[in-house]
């Protein structure tokens, strides 16, 4: 995943920064914020599709981090721990807003549409260079349940069993939502002509490798 480079704090390793932040060191906490702010904000932005909400949630995630950092025992990577904390903050927010994530079953039963094939020119396909703005917009336009599973799995790299645990649903449900989210995104991008370019087929003989 590419990211914008800014001067990073060099003085201490992350472990040292965490230890200092646990003792209430402001500079260490600021450095941890600087290191992780983009990943946390991007997660919040993609799960909500709204910049103002994403900034509020980023703020809330780091405030919670400060409150809970003393409980971090180093059993997992700090970034993994922080990331999970941020996911919980966003899910809690979405639940409060009434966008019940586990209305997945409801979404599931009413949206079993056949694969759309009638986009006109069957030689045209979405290539690797899908416009990132349009892709972000398409993700933001997904129904909340689909969006959450899609972002957690395809963007953030969570496994289905982790998503099932986070969202209190079955692994099968998570897989099904992900597939439908991908198909919806494909439809969205297909309907936007500017995104389609023609090119050579990119089919391999093997099933796609999961992350």
């Amino acid at each position: 995943m590419s990211q914008q480079k800014t001067p990073a704090p060099k003085a201490a390793s992350e472990t040292q920064l965490v230890a200092r932040a646990q003792r209430g060191d402001e500079q260490a906490f600021a450095a941890l914020f600087e290191i992780h702010k983009r990943r946390v904000y991007s997660l919040c932005l993609r799960m909500t599709g709204n910049t103002a909400e994403a900034e509020d949630l980023t703020q809330e995630a780091f405030l919670q981090l400060f409150r809970k950092i003393s409980t971090f025992r180093g059993e997992s990577a700090f970034s993994t721990w922080l990331h999970r904390l941020a996911v919980n903050v966003v899910l809690m927010h979405l639940r409060k807003k009434g966008l019940q994530q586990v209305s997945l079953d409801e979404v599931d039963s009413c949206q079993d549409e056949p694969v759309k094939r009638d986009y006109g020119d069957n030689d045209r396909r979405l290539m690797g260079s899908v416009d990132r703005i349009s892709l972000s917009r398409a993700i933001a336009d997904l129904p909340p349940g689909y969006r959450t599973v899609f972002v957690l799995h395809d963007v953030e790299g969570y496994e289905h069993n982790e998503i099932a645990e986070i969202m209190n649903c079955s692994v099968g449900n998570s897989k099904s939502q992900l597939h439908k989210a991908r198909m919806k995104l494909r439809d969205w991008l297909r309907q936007n002509e500017g995104l389609m370019t023609s090119g050579e087929p990119v089919i391999s003989d093997q099933a796609p490798t999961e992350r």
Binding site: R38, Q59, P114, R117, N122, R125, L135, H179
Partner: protein, 230 residues
Amino acid sequence: MSETRHDSSAACYRFELELQAYMEGENKPFVLAHIRECAFCRVVVEDLEALRAAVRELPLEEPSAAVWSNIRAQLATAGAFAEKAGFWSWFSQLDFLRRPIPVAAFACMVALGCLLTAPRNYPEQDSTSALTATARRTAVRSMGFMGDNEALERVVRELEATFRAREGSLAPDVKTTYENSLLSLDTSIRECSDSLQREPGNSLAHEYLLAAYSQKAEVLSSALEFDEGR
């Protein structure tokens, strides 16, 4: 290759049933065989693979500077950090600064004050460089908050001209760091502008464009501040 939607067969139906498992990495010989023969189903798989690749390349987004200001203010108010009397303890007493909108309004007022009280005899072509680094940053942020795209673009152009005039005096490693940041932001600006040209009503692209300009102005201000501070 001459199929149409109406030719969807039992094989295509089976493909649809097995597609999810295939995309999850399961071995599905039927899917592999079918997409060699059916152009429509092949394009579906290619699209999904292209989509997955594109998602992996999504860049991380940058939150605005107000996020840290708000966090810092809340933690300082709660006495979370070892107390250091000074600017932050005064700042943290301003309750209204904890929310983005009052912060934006406050920044606008400060920026307006800076602009109104700044001496007027600066050379026309270098107005931004004549401001102090703090006033420059505040003005830039307020333009971002107000969504004043054109003003922000103009300020960025002026800051860039000043930066280019002074970049020779920066240490090579410092210069490279700033250049890398600027390059990345220029790419974002170009992508957003292209997107807006194609779709002028795209509010997300507009938001990203403003954010990219604001960040570029911040980077340039920081570079000039660094240069002035030496």
